[in-house]
């Protein structure tokens, strides 16, 4: 019934526009929802993280130029994540606080099936991965675009995201001004984000021992303020360029509560003085404040009548010591009206954060006096995301535009990191001697999408 009404409505609208002499096709689409849907499957090599992520985006544009945008994302993650400990030439056993906490209330059946996840052993020469990584995330976001007088446009929006141990809320507003016959657009935006984290097993005390798992409360928070200033400029009939300057300030709990660091004595693992069953590992600690500055420059150039080149470059620097360059290149090749191909290349390189350490040395970085273990560094993390590396992405997308605002697409991307860290010295013949200190991540993802008017 609803469908019939809708079709009748469309016919009436068409008849009305015909009577008024308006352009029927343009008017028929007015008021409809533009539905964009996509499904992503992401997979890392060596049985690491696997994710399935469906997303649905609804957009409705109104006659006065205003628009409503709604988005729902669901994210399901499984697999293993590096726990931060160093690769050694001996087996290492870890008792996962997060898994142990989850298993505390488990039934006998669940224990039989998942009990091994509470404690896991990593073979000699293998990267220590926590196998209990499992999470799902849901995101809801909404945005409203409102044209104002004097060529100003206002955008406001908000987003809510929730996963097992993490909740994030954000609100944003941006104002844009069109100048010079709409050939220039200046924009200024601000985004406020409030995050709260409630890790399984609580918030570990910074740089405290893994086996003790002393906690400092059950949850913590982080706030982020982002500001962005942008200029978009049409240079000629074929070339449009955009330059953004972004500033970000985050403060609060920024550590990863599940990540640890190995403590070694001349490259050899040490038995935890308080827990003879475990080697000595410390929970990581990151600074509470971070300021980031980014410069982004994008160019779109039309080639011939249907092709286009997209070249983007981003420079980012922060006060953690990370500097990065990103170069992104996509070519839109459209040999047919209903078919195009987009080869994609991305190059990324970053320096390590000042406090990135693949492991800590007893003596100058960690003091061990009897059974007392004291970190002599204020901050330390072995998170590979904070290490020095470069990465290449190769992608290919095939698109089938079926009609105006209707398209099917499929895309495949392949990502490979390369280690750029200088090796931290270890004694010859020790447990860490000859072991990789950074593991190069390899991942690929496939995305299918369908966009249509409804």
């Amino acid at each position: 019934m609803q469908l019939k009404d809708k079709q009748l409505g469309k016919r009436l609208a068409l008849a009305t526009t015909a009577l008024l002499g308006a352009h029927g096709q343009a008017q028929a689409a007015d008021g409809d929802w533009l539905v964009s849907s996509a499904l992503l499957y992401y997979s890392e090599s060596d049985d690491r993280v696997e994710a399935v992520e469906p997303v649905l985006n609804l957009r409705r544009e109104y006659e006065d130029g205003s628009a409503l945008n709604l988005r729902v994302v669901y994210d399901s993650l499984t697999g293993s994540s590096p726990n931060g400990a160093a690769i050694a030439n001996v087996p290492q056993t870890f008792t996962s606080a997060s898994a142990a906490d989850r298993l505390a209330d488990a039934s006998a059946e669940e224990l039989a099936e998942y009990g091994s996840r509470g404690s896991y052993t990593v073979a000699a020469g293998e990267l220590p991965l926590d196998p209990s990584f499992e999470d799902s995330r849901g995101v809801l976001s909404a945005g409203w675009t409102q044209p104002l007088s004097n060529n100003y446009t206002l955008n406001v929006g908000g987003s809510y995201s929730s996963e097992g141990d993490f909740t994030s809320m954000s609100a944003n507003a941006a104002i844009a001004k069109d100048l010079n016959n709409k050939n220039t657009t200046l924009s200024l935006g601000v985004n406020l984000e409030f995050d709260s984290i409630e890790p399984n097993g609580g918030i570990p005390v910074a740089l405290s021992t893994y086996a003790d798992h002393t906690t400092a409360g059950s949850d913590d928070t982080k706030q982020v303020v982002d500001m962005m200033f942008g200029v978009t400029q049409v240079l000629n009939r074929r070339w449009i360029t955009q330059l953004n300057l972004g500033f970000s300030q985050s403060s609060g709990y920024q550590s990863d509560p599940y990540k640890i660091l190995t403590v070694v004595d001349n490259g050899n693992l040490i038995t935890d003085p308080n827990n003879p069953d475990s080697y000595l590992y410390l929970y990581e600690n990151r600074p509470e404040d971070r300021q980031k500055l980014s410069l982004y420059w994008q160019n779109k150039v039309a080639i011939g009548s249907e092709d286009a080149v997209d070249i983007g470059y981003r420079y980012m620097t922060d006060d953690w010591g990370v500097n990065s360059h990103t170069l992104d290149l996509t070519y839109h090749w459209q040999p047919l009206e209903h078919f195009y191909l987009e080869p994609h290349l991305r190059y990324y390189t970053q320096t390590a954060a000042d406090f990135y350490e693949p492991f800590l040395n007893a003596g100058d970085e960690v003091d061990i006096s009897g059974s007392t273990v004291t970190a002599l560094v204020a901050e330390a993390s072995s998170d590979p995301r904070l290490a020095a590396f470069s990465a290449n992405t190769y992608g290919l997308k095939a698109g089938f535009p079926l009609a105006q605002d209707e398209e099917i697409s499929i895309r495949l991307e392949y990502y490979q990191q390369q280690d750029d860290n200088s090796t931290k010295a270890v004694a010859a013949g020790s447990n860490l001697d000859g072991m990789p200190q950074f593991t190069e991540l390899e991942a690929s993802w496939i995305q299918v999408g369908y966009t249509f008017r409804w």
């Binding site: 964009s36 992503l40 990584f133 995101v139 995201s161 996963e163 141990d165 994030s168 954000s170 100048l179 016959n181 050939n183 220039t184 985004n191 984000e193 995050d195 984290i197 982002d226 962005m228 200033f229 978009t232 400029q233 049409v234 240079l235 009939r237 449009i240 330059l243 953004n244 300057l245 972004g246 970000s248 990540k259 300021q291 980031k292 980014s294 410069l295 982004y296 779109k300 039309a302 249907e306 286009a308 997209d310 981003r314 980012m316 620097t317 990370v322 990065s324 990103t326 839109h332 459209q334 195009y340 990324y348 970053q350 995301r385 697409s409 895309r411 990502y415 990191q417 991942a443 993802w445």
Partner: protein
């Protein structure tokens, strides 16, 4: 960092300045109006990629507001 902000603002202002003499007439927008010429021609794809890179690299944002909404452990 202050110097970088100043320099970036200078670049932006210069670009805004030269823009007064650049651009096209409305009837010359035939190519710019094509979907493949939109600055973000596939927002869902952009969001997926930004989320992936945010969870594997230390950088985020630039194009829009970066990262967020993810513990990414």
């Amino acid at each position: 960092m202050i110097r970088l902000i100043t320099r970036s603002l200078l670049v932006l202002l210069t670009l805004a300045g030269i823009s007064a003499c650049a651009g096209v007439k409305p009837w010359e927008r035939d190519l710019l109006a094509k979907p493949q010429m939109e600055l973000d021609s596939d927002p869902l794809q952009t969001a997926f990629d930004e989320h992936i890179y945010f969870s594997k690299e230390a950088s985020s944002g630039g194009r829009g507001f970066g990262g967020g909404g993810c513990g990414c452990n």
